[in-house]
Each structure stands twice: as C-alpha cells, then as structure tokens.
C-alpha cells in the first residue's frame, strides 16, 4: 500500500511530468489560457495516458520482451499511441457526442504528446507491475492536469495585468512556467 502511495506523491508533485520532467510542454503552454480548456485537455490526456499505459505495458511484456526486440520500444509505442487516439476518437464520436465535443478537439493533439510516450517508457524502465502501471499513469495524468490548471489560473489573472509589450504572450508564459518549475522543486524533499 505504501508503495502505491509513494508512486502517487512522487508522480503528482515531485516528478511532475510537466514541471519537473519537462514533458508535454507544448499543451502546457498552448492550452493554458483558459481554465475550461485546460480542464478539457487534462481530461483528454488522462484518458489517453491511462489507456496507452496499459496497452504499451502489455505490448512490452508480451511482445517485445519475449522476442528480445526491446530496442523497438519507441517506434512501437508511438504506433500504439497514435492508433489508440484515432480509435478512441472514433468510438467517442459515435457513442458519446457530448464528450467528443468537450474533448474531441484536444484528442488529435495528444497523438504526438511526449508526455504520453514519456510515461509509457517510464512505466517500463521502472519495471512496474500492471497495477502499479495503472496507478503511475493515473498519477502522472493528475500531475499534468494540475500543472495545466495552475498555469491557466495564473494566465487568466494575467489578462488584467499591465505587462510590458515585449513580454506579452509567450515570453511571460515561459517566465511563469520557469517560476512554477522552481516552486515545484520545493517538493523534492517530500519523500
């Protein structure tokens, strides 16, 4: 039980996928202007991350390892994630139009999201069991959503701030991202 707890804390706060491992920076900067959009993106990433985590783990354990072709990990995982996202999008469009409307536009962006691939690879590197893979993926998804929501909260406030012209837009967002990253460094002594 304690192991799972450590995985959760470490994935959400200490090794936060965006702010400590610098994966998935593109949606972090691109989809963090509005709180609603960042929640949608967080939801879509969580969904895909957990599914992809399970599937890539199965492929690694039952396909790549027995045939001793672990070096194909990256390309195989990319293939899985891309196909999975496409599949999920189709199913969602058919059976849950409201969910598709809410998440649909974010889904194609996730195909090439390095956070998804990164978590899948970390799962394998740490030699987790299936249960731990699930918990680990879910915690990283939560960490990603947390970072996005925090960022969008700050950026919504910034709309009213008087920012020098040369710093408006992406420059100030990058400065904020750096400050948030430093703040999250403070969690490193937590465990």
């Amino acid at each position: 039980m304690q192991e799972y707890f450590i995985i959760i804390i470490s994935a959400v706060l200490i090794n936060n996928i965006v702010l400590s491992q610098f994966l998935g920076i593109c949606p972090f900067l691109g989809v963090s202007k509005k709180l609603s959009a960042s929640l949608g993106m967080g939801g879509a990433v969580s969904f895909v991350l957990v599914l992809a985590g399970a599937l890539t783990w199965a492929v690694q354990v039952y396909l790549l390892n027995p045939f001793k072709i672990g070096y194909l990990q990256t390309i195989a995982f990319i293939l899985i994630i891309a196909a999975l996202v496409q599949f999920v999008e189709m199913v969602m469009k058919k059976y849950s139009p409201p969910l598709y409307k809410a998440l649909g536009i974010y889904l194609p962006l996730i195909t090439t999201n390095c956070a998804v691939l990164g978590v899948a690879i970390i799962n394998i590197q740490k030699e987790y069991t299936f249960g731990k893979v699930m918990v680990h993926s879910l915690s990283h998804a939560a960490g990603f959503t947390l970072a996005l929501v925090l960022m969008s909260g700050i950026r919504e406030r910034m709309e009213d701030a008087d920012i020098p012209e040369s710093m408006q837009g992406t420059p100030i967002a990058l400065v904020i991202a750096a400050l948030m990253s430093i703040a999250f460094l403070g969690f490193s002594g937590l465990i």
């Binding site: 691109g30 989809v31 202007k33 509005k34 959009a37 949608g40 993106m41 492929v59 396909l63 790549l64 045939f67 001793k68 072709i69 070096y71 194909l72 390309i75 195989a76 293939l79 899985i80 196909a83 496409q86 599949f87 189709m90 199913v91 469009k93 058919k94 059976y95 536009i105 974010y106 962006l109 008087d162």
Partner: protein, 293 residues
Amino acid sequence: MLVAVVTLSSMGAIFGIVLGIAAKKFAVEVDPRVEDLLKIMPGANCGACGQPGCAAFAEAIVAGTVTPDSCSPGGASLYEKIAAIMGTEASAYEERQVAQLLCQGDNTHTRMLYRYEGVTDCHASLTNFKGPKACNFGCVMQGSCSQVCPFGAIQMGANGLPVVDYYRCTGCNKCVVECPLQLYKLVGVSHLVNVRCVNTEKGKGAKANCSTACIKCKICEKNCPEDAVHVVVQGEGTVALIDYEKCTNCGICAAKCPTKSIDKIMPLSEEVILEVGETPTPGCTHCGVCAPQ
C-alpha cells in the same frame, strides 16, 4: 532483424485493419452540405451570425435554425452561394454595412482634462473621471475597438482617433458592442454623409470642449433640400441626426455645418459596395476555434 521487421509490420497491419473496421463501424453520418458550406465561409469565426464560429453557423443553416443571410462578413455573394448549396432562392440581400465612428474629436479638436497613462483599454480609461476628455461623449482613444476587430479594419490614427478602413470592414458589429460610449453605428455603404458627433449638450458647452462638436445650430436642418436631417432629442439633450431613408448624399449639410461635425466621405468604389473586396478574408486571426487555446 527479421523478427523486428515482421513484428512491427504485423503490428502496423493489425492496427490498420482495426482502425479501418472501426472507421466503417463507427462512422457518423455528416450531412455533406455542412462541409460544402464550411468551405465557402469567410472563416473569421467572428460570431456576427450569433453562432460560435463558422462551423457552427454551417451546421445551423443545415439544421434550419438560422437564416442564411445572417453572415455579414460574407455579404451578398456568400448568401447566393449558400442558397445554391441549400437549393433555395436567394431573395434580395440587404446592402453591405460598415461601421462609422461617431466622433471626430481628436487631439487637435478636443480639450483634454488630463493625460491618461494607464492600461490601454477604453473601459479602464473611462473609470477615471469619465475619461481624459472634457467632452464626456467622445472617443477616449484607447483603441478597444481596434483590438476587438477581427478583420484589422480599425487602426489607431495619427491624431489618436481610430480610423475605420471601409474596404476591410465587414459590418460584424464587434466594435459596436465593444465601444463603451456606443460611438459606432453600422451604416449602409451607400450612405456617405454622417453626423459625427453624439454630444447632446447645449451648443455653448459642447463647443467649449470640442471645436468639432454638434452645436445644435440647425443650419443643416434649414439647408437640407430633402428634409432629411434634424436636430432630434436624444438622451438628456439634442443632437443632429440624418434620416438615411431621405438623404440623397448631396452633402449640403456637411458643407454648411459650422463645426464640420457633419462629414461627407468619399464614395467607395462600385464593386466594394456590392460585395466584400479581396482583403477581408483575414486568414488566421488566432481566434482559437479550430484549435484549443
């Protein structure tokens, strides 16, 4: 080597087949007319039609919940194309409208009470003693309209006032809604003579604050051959107003107006009156409708 090639290609093949089957099985029927309509839309996603973006407008047309003439950027030509796709007759389309700024009180004409150095936003500027101008009706020149215009048709001029580019303006109504002083009015492009002042104060007070204010002298009223311009009651006072139904663009009132608060603009070239010119399709306006922000 062989194992790797076979494994990867079989994975690819399996995923391909699964996706192919899924695409057939989970196919959602989309009315082909929606896609056709979307192709001819101006693509500015300005929201003038009342729908959230062009895609939603296309769907709403097919669903029959909006009238196809609600797109003002597209104008008459788009209306005809929509009618062709939907298989309906295009009835007479209203004249193209452009936004007219109802203030000429720039830096050189209007007395300033103080110098405003704050957020460049008209709403913010107005919170300080109703703006820096002595005239409480006039443009505060912080350019909120220019920022909100999705077509880049409003630029801030050298004298501080925004300048509307009538060739680019599509009459999307955004500036009309944005302006905290209601200084924009949508006027048909064929109407060339406009009263560019909304100051309803008495003549003396208005004149003291701005040299190009309407002073209610009624000279325009007396000289108009068509009885089209009158000083009418508006708010707590009066101001000159032109009845566009009667106005023939003769420009006598503009010539006689002692403060030049009535203005006659140059007519736009013919093709622009009939439809939107080549510039208005603005390309990407970073509206974020196609991709999340």
